[in-house]
C-alpha cells in the first residue's frame, strides 16, 4: 500500500481564531491531594481499603501504557515535580498559551463512577467536582469543569447534578461509557432527566475501567487492543441510547463521545439503520432511522485523530458525519496528544476549520 507522496498538511494554524480544547486531563499533584476534598470518613476509607474497581490492581490501570506517567507525553512532567497535568502554571505554559486555547474542557475521569462501594463513588465524584472548581477553574477562567456523577447510583447522581446546577463552571455531566448496564436503559434515565432540566449535555469519556470485559470475547491482552476497544464502548452507548428510545423521551438531550476517535461513526450509522429497518417490530418505540438521531443528538471529539493512508479519505468521513458534529480535542497531557497545528493531515476548508476547532464547541457549550 502506498501513501500519498506529499500529505497535504494543514497550514500551521498561526493566524487561527482560537481553539476550544474539549479534552484536557487535570491530575492531582500528589496521591493525597484529592483526599482533602473528601469527608474524613471517606478519606479514611480510601487510606485503608483503597478505591476498588473492576480490575486486578489498586490505583494502576490494567494495561501498561508503554510510556511514563500512565501514558503521558514525556515532556509534560512539570519541571517542579508531580504528574503531567497536575500543575496549572505549567499547563498554561505548555498548552493553553502557546496553542491559543480559548477554552479548555477538563475531563478528570473520576474513579467515583466505577468504585464497587457506591457511597465512596458518590463522595469521590463530589470531591472531583469541588477539586476542579478550587484548583483549576477559579484560578484559570479559560478552563471549564465536568460535572462527574456516579451513574450507577442514579439518585446520588441526580443529587450531585442538583448541587451544582446553575454554576456556569460546569459545562456537561460526565459519565463513563462503561457502566453496569447499557447506557440507554431506563435505569439511567433519571440522570438524563436531570441533565435536560439543567440544559447540560452528557459527556462520555473513554474509560480504562468497567464492570465488564473489554470485548464480547473477554479481556484483550495488550494496550494496543484495549485502546481500540475504547471506541467500542462508545459505539455501544450510541447503539443503546438510540435503540432504547432515549431521544424520543428526551428530545433535547445532547451527548458527546470523548476520546474515541470518529471514523467509526458512519459505519455504525449505516449498520444501525439496516438493523432498525429489518427488526422494526422489535423496536416500535424507535420512531425514526437511527442515523437521524445520531445526526441530531451526538457530537464527537476528534482525538485520537484517525490517520488514513490517503489523508483525503478523512474528508469523506467528515462529510458523512457532518463537520458540525466534531469538536477538536488534544487529550493533553497523554502520549497520543493531538497538536492543533498538526492534527489534521489534510487541509480543511476555512469554514470547517473554524467549526471543528472552535465554533461547534462554543455553540454546544454556549461559551461566549
Amino acid at each position: 500500500m502506498t501513501t500519498d507522496p506529499a500529505p497535504a498538511l494543514a497550514k500551521t494554524r498561526v493566524n487561527h481564531r482560537g481553539v476550544v480544547d474539549c479534552d484536557i486531563h487535570p491530575m492531582p499533584a500528589t496521591p493525597t491531594e484529592m483526599a482533602e476534598f473528601l469527608p474524613a470518613r471517606w478519606a479514611k476509607h480510601v487510606a485503608s481499603y483503597g478505591a476498588r474497581v473492576a480490575q486486578p490492581f489498586l490505583g494502576m490501570v490494567p494495561y501498561p501504557r508503554m510510556t511514563a506517567g500512565n501514558g503521558s507525553r514525556l515532556d509534560a512532567f512539570p519541571p517542579g515535580g508531580g504528574l503531567p497535568g497536575s500543575n496549572l502554571p505549567f499547563m498554561r505554559e505548555q498548552l493553553l498559551d502557546p496553542l491559543g486555547i480559548e477554552y479548555g474542557i477538563l475531563q478528570p475521569l473520576s474513579i467515583g463512577s466505577h468504585t464497587f462501594d457506591q457511597g465512596l463513588g458518590a463522595a469521590l465524584c463530589a470531591a472531583s467536582n469541588d477539586w476542579q472548581l478550587e484548583k483549576w477553574v477559579k484560578p484559570e477562567p479559560r478552563l471549564k469543569a465536568s460535572l462527574c456523577v456516579p451513574q450507577d447510583d442514579p439518585d446520588a447522581a441526580v443529587a450531585e447534578i442538583e448541587r451544582h446546577a446553575g454554576n456556569p463552571a460546569f459545562v456537561h455531566v460526565a459519565i463513563p461509557p462503561r457502566a453496569t448496564e447499557p447506557l440507554g436503559r431506563r435505569r439511567y434515565w433519571p440522570v438524563y432527566q436531570a441533565a435536560v432540566e439543567h440544559d447540560l449535555p452528557i459527556a462520555l469519556h473513554s474509560a480504562a475501567y468497567g464492570p465488564g470485559a473489554n470485548s464480547g470475547s473477554g479481556w484483550m491482552s495488550y494496550y494496543i487492543e484495549e485502546h481500540y476497544a475504547f471506541a467500542h464502548s462508545l459505539q455501544s452507548v450510541v447503539t443503546s441510547m438510540v435503540m432504547e428510545g432515549v431521544f424520543d423521551r428526551f428530545p433535547s438531550l445532547k451527548v458527546i463521545c470523548v476520546e474515541g476517535g470518529f471514523a467509526w461513526v458512519p459505519a455504525l450509522a449505516w449498520r444501525l439503520d439496516k438493523a432498525w429497518h429489518r427488526m422494526r417490530d422489535e423496536l416500535p418505540h424507535v420512531k425514526r432511522p437511527p442515523s437521524e438521531y445520531m445526526r441530531e443528538h451526538f457530537w464527537y471529539t476528534t482525538q485520537p485523530m484517525e490517520e488514513p493512508e490517503h489523508p483525503r479519505h478523512l474528508l469523506d468521513v467528515i462529510e458523512w458525519i457532518g463537520a458540525d458534529r466534531l469538536l477538536f480535542s488534544t487529550d493533553y497531557p497523554h502520549w497520543d496528544f493531538d497538536d492543533p497545528r498538526q492534527a489534521f493531515k489534510v487541509r480543511l476548508s476555512d469554514e470547517m476549520d473554524q467549526a471543528i476547532f472552535r465554533d461547534n464547541a462554543k455553540t454546544l457549550y454556549r461559551l461566549s
Binding site: M66, R185, G210, Y228, A263, E282, E307
Partner: protein, 358 residues
C-alpha cells in the same frame, strides 16, 4: 446487480440442522444415549444470536411453511444455487454445537454435524462445499477434528463464532491455527456469540437488533486480536475470513490500529509490518451484509478506503434476510471488481475450490 454471473461462488450459505435428532446417527453410543435419555432438553440447540423465527434469520419468501429455513436441500437448491446460478456455495452450519460449554459434548456434536454435512448435503449436491465446525472449548480436540476431515477436499474452511470465551488470537487457540494452516484451510469467523461474556462493555443490550449491530465490534476485536497476538508471525500462510461481519467498519480500524502501532509497537515487537497491510494480506470479508453508504458513488469511496480489491468475497447469506429480491450486490460496482468479488477472490481464498473433483 443481478445474478447469475458466470462462475459465481457464494461464500456464505446456511444449511440448518432441523433438530438434534438428525445428528443421532452420527453420534457414538455414549453420546446417543446421553442426548436421547439425559439431555432431552437439548433437542433444540438454537443460537441465541439467531432466533429461528426472527426476521434476521430468514427472508420471508425463503421461509418454508413448516420447519426451519435452510433445512431442506431441494429448496436451497432452487432458491440459492439455481436461482443465483452459483458454481459453488460454502455451507456454514450455525448450530448450537458451536457454543456448547461442555468440551466433550461440544466436540461430539461438532463431529456429528460435520459427518451429517458430508452425507446429507455434500454427497447429494456437487455444488456445495462446507466449513468444518469445531468447539473452541478444547483446541487440541478441535485440531484433531480438522486433521480427521482435512482429507475430504470438500471441506474448505474451519468455522468458529465471533464471540467466545477468549479473544481468538490467544495462544490457547494456536493448535487450531497450526492444523488449519497445514491444510490450507482458512479460519472462518461467523457472527454469533457463545455468550460467555456480554457483547458490550456495559452488559447485555435489550434487543436483538442491538446485539446484531454489536457483532461488528466482535469482528473488529478478533481482527485486532489476531494481529496483536502475532498469529500471522507464527502462521504466515493462515487466512481469516470474516463472515456476515459487515464491511464498512474496516477502514477506520485499519487507520487507527496502524497509527497506534507506530506509538506503542514496543509492546508487540512481533508485528513487523504496518497492521493495515497485515490485515489486507490475511483477512477476507463476505459481502453480505456490507453496511454500505446509500448510493453507489459513496460506496465506491468506501471501497477506495479499504485499499484492496482482493478482500471482499461474494455471499448471499441464504436464508438470512440481508437483501430484497435479486439485489444481492449493490449497484455501481465496477465490472473488474465484480469478477474479483464473485469468482477470483473466493478461488484465491479457498484454494481447495480450484481442485477438480472426481
Amino acid at each position: 446487480m443481478h445474478l447469475p454471473y458466470p462462475g459465481a461462488i457464494d461464500c456464505d450459505i446456511h444449511p440448518a440442522v432441523p433438530g438434534s435428532q438428525v445428528l443421532l446417527p452420527y453420534l457414538d453410543n455414549y453420546w446417543r444415549d446421553t442426548m436421547t435419555m439425559v439431555m432431552k432438553g437439548m433437542s433444540r440447540l438454537e443460537l441465541n444470536s439467531y432466533p429461528p423465527n426472527a426476521p434476521l434469520s430468514s427472508r420471508p419468501d425463503w421461509r418454508p411453511r413448516e420447519g426451519k429455513a435452510g433445512s431442506d436441500l431441494p429448496r436451497l437448491r432452487a432458491q440459492a444455487l439455481d436461482h443465483f446460478g452459483l458454481r459453488y456455495a460454502i455451507c456454514n452450519c450455525l448450530y448450537g454445537a458451536l457454543a456448547v460449554y461442555n468440551p466433550d459434548l461440544g466436540a461430539a456434536l461438532c463431529r456429528a454435524i460435520n459427518d451429517w454435512m458430508a452425507k446429507e448435503w455434500l454427497d447429494r449436491e456437487p455444488r456445495l462445499r462446507a466449513s468444518i465446525v469445531i468447539s473452541l472449548m478444547d483446541p487440541e480436540t478441535a485440531a484433531e477434528e480438522i486433521e480427521r476431515l482435512a482429507p475430504d477436499r470438500r471441506f474448505v474452511q474451519v468455522l468458529v463464532l465471533a464471540m467466545g470465551e477468549m479473544p481468538l488470537g490467544r495462544r490457547n487457540y494456536w493448535p487450531i491455527y497450526k492444523a488449519a494452516e497445514r491444510h490450507a484451510l482458512p479460519i472462518g469467523i461467523h457472527a454469533g456469540s457463545m455468550m460467555c461474556h456480554a457483547p458490550t462493555q456495559s452488559g447485555y443490550p435489550s434487543y436483538l437488533a442491538e446485539d446484531y449491530v454489536t457483532q461488528a465490534q466482535a469482528f473488529a476485536t478478533q481482527t485486532i486480536s489476531f494481529v496483536a497476538e502475532g498469529v500471522f508471525a507464527k502462521f504466515p500462510d493462515l487466512r481469516v475470513v470474516l463472515i456476515e461481519s459487515g464491511v464498512s467498519w474496516l477502514p477506520g480500524l485499519m487507520w487507527r490500529v496502524s497509527k497506534d502501532w507506530r506509538g506503542v509497537r514496543t509492546e508487540v515487537p512481533w508485528i513487523k509490518k504496518i497492521p493495515a497491510d497485515i490485515i489486507r494480506d490475511h483477512f477476507r470479508l463476505t459481502i453480505q451484509p456490507l453496511d454500505a453508504p446509500p448510493n453507489s458513488e459513496e460506496l465506491n469511496r468506501l471501497l477506495d478506503h479499504i485499499g484492496s480489491d482482493e478482500m471482499l468475497l461474494f455471499a448471499t447469506d441464504y436464508p438470512h434476510w440481508q437483501f430484497e429480491g435479486d439485489e444481492v450486490l449493490p449497484a455501481g460496482l465496477p465490472e473488474n471488481l465484480l469478477q474479483k468479488i464473485l469468482v477470483d477472490n473466493p478461488l484465491a481464498t479457498y484454494p481447495r475450490l480450484k481442485e477438480v473433483l472426481q
